[in-house]
Symmetry: C2
Subunit: 202 residues, 2 copies
Amino acid sequence: MYEGPVQDLIDELGRLPGIGPKSAQRIAFHLLTVEPADIDRLTSALGRVRDGVTYCEECGTVSDADRCRICSDPRRDRTRICVVEEPKDVPAVERTREYKGLYHVLGGALNPIAGVGPDHLRIRELLARIGGGSEDEEVAEVIIATDPNTEGEATATYLVRMLRDFPGLAVSRLASGLPMGSDIEYADEMTLGRALSGRRTL
Amino acid sequence: MYEGPVQDLIDELGRLPGIGPKSAQRIAFHLLTVEPADIDRLTSALGRVRDGVTYCEECGTVSDADRCRICSDPRRDRTRICVVEEPKDVPAVERTREYKGLYHVLGGALNPIAGVGPDHLRIRELLARIGGGSEDEEVAEVIIATDPNTEGEATATYLVRMLRDFPGLAVSRLASGLPMGSDIEYADEMTLGRALSGRRTL
């Protein structure tokens, strides 16, 4: 619809997830009005991500250094590991302020149709962490926080089977049920079914 | 919440209009998974817009060449000019497929509070176009398509006054009223008032 660089920018922005043609147009025309330095900061941030980000050697989340801030924080409880699919799940759990342990990022979930098997995920690294702790830092609990969908459930089931080999290790899974603040009337049957089967005695 | 380049990218993306922290995070993690060439195309498009886009000498919309595709299209009706505020309004009118004339981009709307007066808009250029056409291309109609808000209305009123000096020139304004597919019940009083005062005899 437009010509030249503006249309190219609209096209490229429109390829990003969650950005439709209208938003892409709005952003492009906004960028026509900003200082060149503002665009420079954006392109420089893009360039640094393009050149590769580094991952924590221990938990696998995105990190500036060899070990991320959480793994190198002496105040964290090293006997607990929360297993998540992606780096973006770490700040989601952190925001609850309910968890003081460590994390382990799998790098995805089992998905046979898409060709993602156990060897594609950081499962071997997880087992090594559980088996390799020194005596006073032995892992006592693994909380499986994969997504509550088909792939995440399959991954959780697989992990539970692998973790049976560690006697004394507590393995738990995040509760499924009705989201807080929601309406039973509008809950889908899967969620309501989970809320029923996971009901707590009061 | 994250570290290093990923957080920088999330911060920069979050500065764009319509992109909240969640979308910025989603886009940043998406960009971690794409080919470097995809990021290169985006940064290159940003760079070209940063280095300046060119505008059509005639109508003032963004353009690759000295004259945009619409102004240089011999099939367009050169006796009609649709006056819009911004380049992004041109494709909006084009999508209706109802208009075959030319455009004139003002580059904004009158806004005394923000210090935007008539001299800041391309009004002089509009008057020159109307007065300067050769005999067989004389402008016969100006359609004022500024936004139906305070600034757009003030701009329209100002333009109508200026255009009175051209005898025989038809000057019109886009109709205001209820949007198609909307509910009278939910219409704001301004819109409903306009729909009433602009009612058509059937």
